[in-house]
Amino acid sequence: MLSLFAATSIVQLWYLVPLVVSVSLVYGATRHELPRPIFHQAFKTAVWMLTFMGVIFTILLLVSWSL
């Protein structure tokens, strides 16, 4: 189980923040024209991306439990 954490540095996870923000805002801006719906869509997209990555991480963690 620890091998999964050993392969991922906490510092490297911070690179995720600007990436998620940028991708979410650009995606939201390509779906809407007015500012409020853009930011609303961007927030939903960011939550979706982080949730998806969290689920994948949890699955990998469980798979590597006995390693």
């Binding site: 540095s9 690179y15 600007p18 990436l19 923000v21 940028s22 650009v26 801006a29 779906r31 007015l34």
Partner: protein
């Protein structure tokens, strides 16, 4: 508004003047957000410019200017023709940001002719495999992250280019409804 302008209405009461979509597409590729400024969509243009160029230059800074280059120095001549100019496949995605990634082509051409790269070697290709290995060893994960960020910036600009060419993709038309103009406003003033 010129007669030949293209007008779209992706949402109720939201009309967007795309002007000349092909020009907007070209400008959006050359400089992220420029196509939207051409169309008068200043807020979105600023958003795209800040997000896409911010991602690109952040990645470039992570990699100390070495993660965006178009090919090698020419020492390994294994391909011919136009493919000699672009041998680093991430550059196909990085080129999506347009002019900010163009110096890589210039630097590659200079190095291939035996000249010294400009501006301290920013966006210049490695002289050989040993130099590339040294970059990876010194920068470590920052080389990969810088490459990733610049590639994603190029891909994001492709989305922005489509938005400049055809307007937003309306998947939830209810969110962008503007209230209809007040038809009674003129009567109230009387």
């Amino acid at each position: 508004m010129a007669p030949s302008d293209t007008i779209v209405e992706p949402f109720p009461n939201v009309r967007i003047n795309l002007r000349q979509p092909l020009w907007a597409l070209l400008l959006a590729w050359l400089w992220p957000g420029a196509g939207h400024f051409y169309q008068g969509r200043h807020a979105k243009g600023l958003l795209f410019m800040v997000c896409i160029l911010g991602t690109f230059f952040f990645g470039l800074a992570l990699g100390e200017g070495k993660v965006v280059y178009a090919g090698d120095s020419g020492q390994r001549v294994t391909v011919t023709g136009w493919r000699r100019l672009i041998q680093r496949w991430p550059y196909f995605l990085q080129a999506g940001v347009g002019l900010p990634a163009a110096p890589a082509l210039v630097q590659t051409a200079i190095v291939r002719r035996g000249g010294q790269p400009l501006f301290g070697g920013i966006m210049a290709p490695p002289r050989n495999d040993d130099e590339l290995a040294a970059w990876n060893e010194r920068l470590n994960v920052r080389f990969e992250m810088g490459t990733l960020f610049t590639m994603i910036a190029g891909l994001l600009n492709v989305l922005a280019m489509y938005d400049a060419f055809a307007g937003p993709v309306a998947t939830e038309p209810g969110d962008d409804k503007r209230p209809p103009p007040d038809k009674d406003a003129g009567d109230k003033q009387k």
